[in-house]
């Protein structure tokens, strides 16, 4: 207003033209605001505080920010790739060793979902510029300290060998017991992840770890039921 009044006084002749120009300016500004969703009153960006604390006004230019990915997140993914790889290795033994349809179906399911998840984990790591395996682990493995590099629940070399040598019902039982042990380990890994400081805060990883937890719990219960059925059948005989 003040601006316009001064202009009027100083350049009386151009008054009309200037007013029109000012109008155009105001219109253009309003249009620009409107196109970004501004009302008569511009929207506010605020951030509440903890209860009892005030709500802060943030600059309108505020952009999203996320917590950092932690070393524990990266190690969880690297470790889980190795962990999952053994599950796939175990399911690969099934077809040559048992005719049990339920075990075969279970194996197909586990193999499919774990292979899928391995892909996901690799992509997660690579897109963050991280190696898909932990150098320290690899070193232990190369040095022959295989058991030191194992993730929780993973079958030892002896257990794997026993599984390879088994056939029929013996294989079924060893496989189910081994896979329950293996899945229990994954639950421990998830628990460890969420108990590590600053870990599990990234949405994608949070979702994935949560899925691993609920999915493997379900499979453990299913496998326990299969084991129980085998035992009760045997007793009936």
């Amino acid at each position: 207003m003040e601006f316009e009044r001064l202009r009027r006084q100083s350049v009386g002749k151009l008054r009309g033209g200037l007013r029109a120009a000012a109008c155009v300016f105001v219109f253009a500004a309003a249009g620009a605001f409107a196109s970004e969703g501004f009302a008569q009153e511009a929207p506010v960006v605020v951030q509440p505080g903890a209860p009892g604390k005030p709500t802060r006004v943030l600059p309108p230019t505020t952009k999203g920010k996320l917590p950092p990915v932690s070393a524990a997140d990266v190690q969880f993914m690297q470790g889980m790739i190795m962990h999952h790889a053994q599950a796939v290795e175990m399911t690969d033994l099934i077809n040559a060793r048992t005719e049990n349809r339920t075990v075969r179906l279970l194996g197909a399911r586990i193999s499919h979902s774990q292979a899928d998840e391995i892909q996901f984990m690799k992509r997660w790591l690579v897109s963050r510029g991280q190696p898909v395996s932990d150098a320290a682990h690899d070193m232990h493995m190369k040095m022959g300290h295989a058991s030191m590099g194992l993730m929780p629940g993973m079958l030892s070399a002896e257990q794997m060998e026993a599984l390879r040598k088994a056939k029929g019902e013996e294989f079924d039982r060893l496989f189910l017991k081994g896979m329950i042990q293996h899945h229990d380990g994954a639950l421990i890994m998830v628990k460890d992840l969420f108990e590590a400081a600053g870990a599990g805060q990234e949405a994608e990883l949070f979702n994935f770890a949560t899925d691993v937890d609920s999915g493997q719990r379900a499979e453990i219960r299913a496998m326990q039921k299969m084991l129980d059925n085998m035992t009760s059948k045997k007793e009936k005989r």
């Binding site: 506010v44 903890a50 996901f120 897109s127 600053g198 949405a203 979702n207 899925d211």
Partner: protein
Amino acid sequence: MNRGSMMAFRLFAGALFLSLCFAGALQAQEPPKAAGAKPEEKKAEADPFAPEPAPPLPAGMVGSDVNDPRTKLKPGLYDAEEAVKGLKPLVLLPKPGPFQLGADDPSDPKVQKTLGVLGIPNTAVIPKPFQMVMAQLAFANTDLAFKGKYLFQGNFYGVSIYDISNPAKAQLLTSMVCPGGQGDVSVHKNLMFMSVEMPNGRTDCGVDGFPPGPPPAAGVASKPGVPAPQKDRFRGVRIFDITDIRSPKQVALVQTCRGSHTHTLVVDPKDKKNVYIYVSGTSFVRQGEELAGCSDEAPEKNPNTSLFRIEVIKVPLAAPQNAKVVSSPRVFINPRTGAINGLNNGGTHGRNGLEQPADSDQCHDITVYSQVGLAAGACSGNGLLLDIKDPVNPKRLDAVNDPNYAYWHSASFSNDGKKVVFTDEWGGGMGARCRPTDPNKWGADAIFAVEDDKLRFASYYKLPAAQGATENCVAHNGSLIPVPGRDIEVQSWYQGGISVIDFTDAANPVEIAYFDRGPIDPKMLVLGGHWSAYWYNGHIYGSEIARGLDIMELTPSEHLTQNEIDAAKSVRVAELNVQNQQRIVWPAQLVVAKAYLDQLERSQALPADRIAAMRSAIQSAESSGLNPKDRATLRSFVQPLKESARTARSAVDATRLQALAGILMRPAK
């Protein structure tokens, strides 16, 4: 959004996952494969840009229609082709600045800057289209709530509040930054409630989460160091005072063991001083060191396990700061044995169609209908019917499972409380599950009749139009449209769009209107589409995950008349929290009578001459402003209508005839 255990996060993960699938450049970057890599992996790596391969249609199953106009729409973020029937889009408000990139070109500096703040170190190794995907992930729009002229849109990063006094010119008022999960939101009077489940949730709404500890010593990754209880961590339900709509104040924090994936506002008609919140937690159980009493042990080991339960929060309206958990109902209990894990999942398949479906140790969402004293729980492996006459102690009346259901996700009642529409979030909302080879009984609605406190299956409904492999699509959130005399629901299907169905006949649901856009991207699945689509006081609001807020209205069609739409618009409510279902009551206005007449004509329940006579009398009464003579004429139809109701061919028509007679007896202005 949510499935398996977390819908929203799954969407994120899904999108990322799928998008990563397409990230061809990644392949070259990948270090040599670890020993033990199997043929399955090689297959998946062959074409990392390709969408998740669709498995073949299982034997005996039928897929959706590939000839539907919605099946092949042109892609785009803001310029996608649209297919519309029986709806008119009014406006799409792009996502507000603090929650969006504001760009659809991966080379845009805004995208690069956002990747920087997301901690993506070196964008050179990431294919361009994928950079777009990653940059958008953490800011998905989610569920909606309404109060008066305000709309509340949840987001993974906070809540957006709009003024919708004039829906076609809705205005953003407030962007509230407060991350910690999908931000499921409810409003009641001066209070707003928000769900938090992720470990980055902070009591002070801070965006930085918690600092990572020092990396574990080499080779002992299985022991990531000391547990890290955080006193400032928040997982549970936040309560805000929204008296100043431009400055919500946090007044209470109610912590729970699994956090809150969703929550449901419960208003007990007998209790004017308190409201209740049912908390559905689907995430991991936090350690007891952080919140006393939390345990994720199996029920056999620990009868007080935090699994297999929901939580009930009591909120004193006069003192919301005193809100607290007052009960943890064991809704999965076996009443005979007392086992708290007493329900079994009956599904044959999980998220990807092969693996075991998740167990029933959690509810994903609960819809309460206090006026009929019932709640419908969508609880991972089961659909529950609960008696909530005592809201603090819900009792299970019935539980169902279904071989075609992967994850029981949400529920809604018909207005008479005699039907429940459940949804199955197969694929978690992040997956393309409406492809031609996806069975039309998987990832679908299941409609149940409620008879003598039992649920009886009636039919499935799935989006009839097949969608592409880059469109995340599955049944999701919807609400009733208050058309009198019919059960009509508007429902979101992510990138499958919005579908309006009539389920008056529970055995034969039919689609009567739809809206759909092409995929965000033709080559990779970019998470998007409608999280929720709800009717509120005359308009349909669609929360679009990636694009923003859609506002549209119904238009008349062969399936729906202008009178029926006007009758729906005659219903006004002060608040809408869809999972706190309120009985719809229609005003006794002539516009509602006209809707009933249209329906009786459609179902041929009355002869044409009687319908014409009533229409003419109504028209006359409307132009005279209901003068005594016209009122008398209207009354003269009442007795014959009641006669017709007694002899009507269907119960639905009988109800319509009775309701029509009631209005003509005493029409309101």
